[in-house]
């Protein structure tokens, strides 16, 4: 589920903070990580230092499977700035473990026209150099058939 893209496109990178670092760097270990409340099990995204259900501060990063479903998407044709080759797909995906946790992302590894709402997808990380280090952007590709269902 990890895999560096040979030459990634230009992207605006996120400003890394202590709170969001597990999310943006989990890809180094092939892991899609979200903060989770150790007291009640609620997953939190975007990362916040307090659980919205029981207000516990006992929140820590935890990996999920990386499987998700396309909730909605658009095929973008407009050149807003340098970026992926046009046209490209921007999607909102819902993660398998909790569909209320969503990510805006790109669907890669298939033709834009093949993407559909309800499509099973899995995470694939794009490594982007960031100063002395790197961030790993979670993109999604069609789930391999053996893994569907």
């Amino acid at each position: 589920m990890s895999g560096d893209v040979a030459s990634p496109p230009f992207r605006i990178l996120p400003r890394i903070t202590d709170l969001n670092r597990p999310f943006w760097t989990g890809g180094e270990h092939g892991e899609l990580r979200f903060l989770r409340c150790r007291d009640c099990g609620t997953r939190l995204h975007p990362p916040v230092p307090v659980c919205h259900v029981d207000h516990s501060r006992n929140v820590h990063p935890e990996a999920v499977s990386g499987r998700a479903t396309v909730a909605t998407f658009t095929i973008n044709h407009q050149m807003w700035m340098p970026g992926p080759e046009l046209p490209y797909v921007v999607a909102i995906v819902e993660i398998e473990e909790d569909p209320t946790i969503r990510l805006t992302t790109n669907i890669v590894g298939c033709e834009p026209g093949d993407v559909y709402i309800g499509m099973p997808v899995e995470v694939v990380f794009e490594r982007q150099p960031d100063g002395d280090g790197a961030v790993w952007l979670p993109l999604f590709r069609p789930r391999r058939e053996a893994e569907v269902g």
Partner: protein, 398 residues
């Protein structure tokens, strides 16, 4: 209603606009003052009568030209002596600035509040096409806050974010591009009668389908046109509105609620938006009903936002917005619910929310000239924003 809503103590006594154009290359503060002076003059007031000031967004990061002047600049340029002022982007959409002014006069903090929204996106963005948020940030720019979750995925525009809501609506309810096109076609038809509109040439369904795609299902004509211009209002306490130049426009109710997550991608129902909560909220503050509304001026920064407002305000059921606007007769100037009678932002220019309230007031006063709706309207809704923040106002003429 147990307690009368505070906003009912407010009314709109002056409306004004500066010169409006695609690219005027005029100083944005000068344009702003021009719009403000027009509104004060329209109310029959002097600058010295203004004791409150409110604007959206003030200092803000956004597309180039997003904010033509801050509250401080107008305050100082006009040497206003203020009892109350406010400015900011984190409010109930663009009209949040006017809604706050209503509450301020209701609370007795001011008698006459000048409200303005000023843009120079046309000139600032030049001929190079519309850029994404952060495009001018350089290689060292890093996205933070909510933008950190969209910009890295080459999603630097509300066109993309809103297109995904539209796509979900299409998927769930069978809404079509032919239906959505009516927002653009209706706006263009009305803009043809508005001398201040940016695009006035007729547009056909064939023209719409021939336009290049931006972010599916949106083509170019589903996206509003950046422009330069300022819109201003004077919001007065009803007790101080009696002897002014024109009959005041009454504020019947406002809708400000946002109960879902304040987020483009985490909002619970991707077929609706923040519009759902603000629209429903409006009707909890008045005895008037959607069937009492004679005209609707509803935000069309992107066409789907208008459809979303139509559903959110209860003019039809959720999911039925496509069928509601199909064919365009119902929303035409002589239809049962005339919509965006000035052309909306799609054709009259992206004055960013305030243009809808301006047009609602113009129509309620019967000052629409060639574009005046044939049946004199008594009740109007002006609604602005969408996505993760918005607000709406219910207005009436005496």
């Amino acid at each position: 209603m147990a307690t009368e809503p505070l906003e009912k103590h407010a009314c709109i006594t002056g409306v004004g606009q500066s010169q409006i154009g695609r690219r005027l290359h005029r100083d944005p503060l000068e344009l702003t003052i021009e719009g403000c002076l027009a509104a004060i003059e329209d109310a029959g007031l002097a600058v010295s009568d203004i004791d409150g000031l409110s604007t959206y967004p003030g200092f803000a990061i956004g597309n180039p030209g997003f904010s033509g002047a801050s509250a401080v600049e107008v305050h100082d340029a006009m040497r206003l002596e203020l009892d109350w002022f406010d400015s900011g982007i984190e409010t109930s959409g663009q009209l949040g600035a006017v809604i706050k002014a209503c509450l301020a006069v209701g609370a007795g903090l001011a008698k006459h509040v000048l409200c303005f929204r000023s843009v120079f996106e046309g000139s600032a963005q030049g001929g190079g096409g519309r850029q994404g948020i952060g495009a001018d940030g350089g290689a060292g720019f890093r996205a933070s806050g909510p933008l950190a979750w969209s910009l890295p995925f080459a999603a630097p525009s509300a066109a993309i974010w809103i297109a995904m809501f539209a796509q979900k609506h299409f998927h769930e309810y069978g809404t079509t591009r032919e239906q959505l096109a009516q927002i653009a076609l209706n706006g263009r038809k009305n803009a043809g009668l508005n001398p201040n509109a940016i695009y006035r040439d007729p547009m056909s369904m064939d023209d719409y389908f021939a336009a290049r795609m931006i972010a599916e299902p949106f083509c170019l004509f589903d996206c509003d046109v950046p422009c330069d211009g300022a819109t201003a209002f004077v919001v007065s306490h009803v007790d101080h509105a009696k002897d002014l130049r024109k009959p005041p426009i009454r504020v019947e109710a406002v809708g400000t609620a946002l109960r879902g997550r304040p987020s483009w991608d985490q909002f619970d129902d991707l077929t609706t938006m923040a519009t759902r909560d603000a629209g429903a909220h409006l009707w909890t503050r008045t005895d008037l009903r959607p069937s009492d509304v004679d005209i609707l001026e509803a935000y069309d920064g992107f066409s789907f936002l208008t459809l979303s407002w139509i559903e959110a305000l209860g003019f039809c059921k959720p999911g039925e917005g496509g069928a509601f606007i199909e064919g365009g007769d119902r929303i035409a100037r002589d239809g049962e619910l005339p919509l965006n009678t000035h052309g909306g932002q799609l054709s009259a220019g992206r004055l960013h929310g305030f243009g809808f309230l301006h047009e609602a007031c113009v129509q309620l006063r019967g000052e629409g000239g060639e574009r005046q709706v044939p049946k004199p309207p008594r009740v109007a809704v002006a609604a602005a924003g969408g996505g993760n923040t918005c607000g709406c106002m219910l207005l009436s003429r005496p």
